[in-house]
Assembly symmetry: C2
Homo-oligomer: 164 residues x 2
């Protein structure tokens, strides 16, 4: 039994108390949350989301990648969301990532240097502001009137706003 089988066992228990899902595919709160993949950050519990409330995007760092922009664009254009909440967090694994050193290591290990970006960030608040600015600059995001940036404090559970 591996870890994935453990999670499937959890799902079998989840089904027992599952009482159906009447929520619409259109998020009720019209919000997209863009955040990190970090295992200690559960946006659903931290923000009190219920099924059907919001789209949740997660990648390493919670960055405004092309893929995040693609996803937000589809969320807004096809499924009616209008607000974006960027949530980075303390003690993030991206805080000490050096792009060139990481690419050097990958090239040494695999023989192939990634052509895609591997940005890290040194300043958490500055990166939240940068991420919001990148979303605001995208021509593909129709609704930009309510984009706000936050830091989740892993130690306190608090989501605090970052303003530029």
């Amino acid at each position: 039994m591996g870890a994935i089988d453990d999670l499937l066992g959890n799902n079998a228990r989840f089904i027992e108390s599952f009482d159906g899902n009447s929520a619409s595919v259109v998020p009720a709160k019209k919000v997209v949350v863009l955040t990190c993949m970090d295992s200690r950050l559960d946006p659903v519990s931290v923000l009190g989301l219920t099924p059907g409330d919001a789209h949740v995007l997660r990648n390493a760092g919670g960055i405004a990648s092309d893929d995040a922009i693609r996803s937000i664009m589809l969320s807004q254009r096809r499924l009616g969301t209008t607000s974006i909440m960027v949530v980075h967090h303390t003690n993030c694994g991206m805080l000490d990532l050096d792009e060139q050193r990481e690419k050097d290591a990958i090239e040494a290990d695999t023989g192939i240097r990634p052509s895609f970006a591997l940005e890290g960030f040194a300043d958490l608040e500055a990166d939240v502001i940068q991420t919001v600015a990148r979303l605001e600059a995208s021509p593909f995001i129709p609704h930009k009137g309510d984009i706000r940036g936050f830091v989740y404090e892993v130690d306190t559970g608090r989501v605090r706003e970052v303003t530029g």
Copy 2:
């Protein structure tokens, strides 16, 4: 009070019962879950994840984008995960997406045609298999011995495996 303020209100209540977080930044189950942004799919409850268990990646469709591959690569290389669980779902907003028609509409609305891919998929199971195959083909993912694909059934809560 907008929707984001509602979620911040939820966070204020979340903090009241928050009892700290002793979990390591290294996911205990060494699993990455790659899934969709859909608001009705909460991977934490569906798979019974507890804080610190697994990295969770989410984008529109749960696809193997460059950004997902970047994130999985960092998860495995820097934070020790070794298993990947791909979870797509029934009633996905990507199931009726026509790439060329969508790009035509975006170009008509904004004057700019996205240079990035906007794949949809017609067959859910086939796309799970394709997503797993793309991860297996990436030179940047070191651990490929435990990559498995699943469909989450929105109506039943069940996560069922898709095998090629």
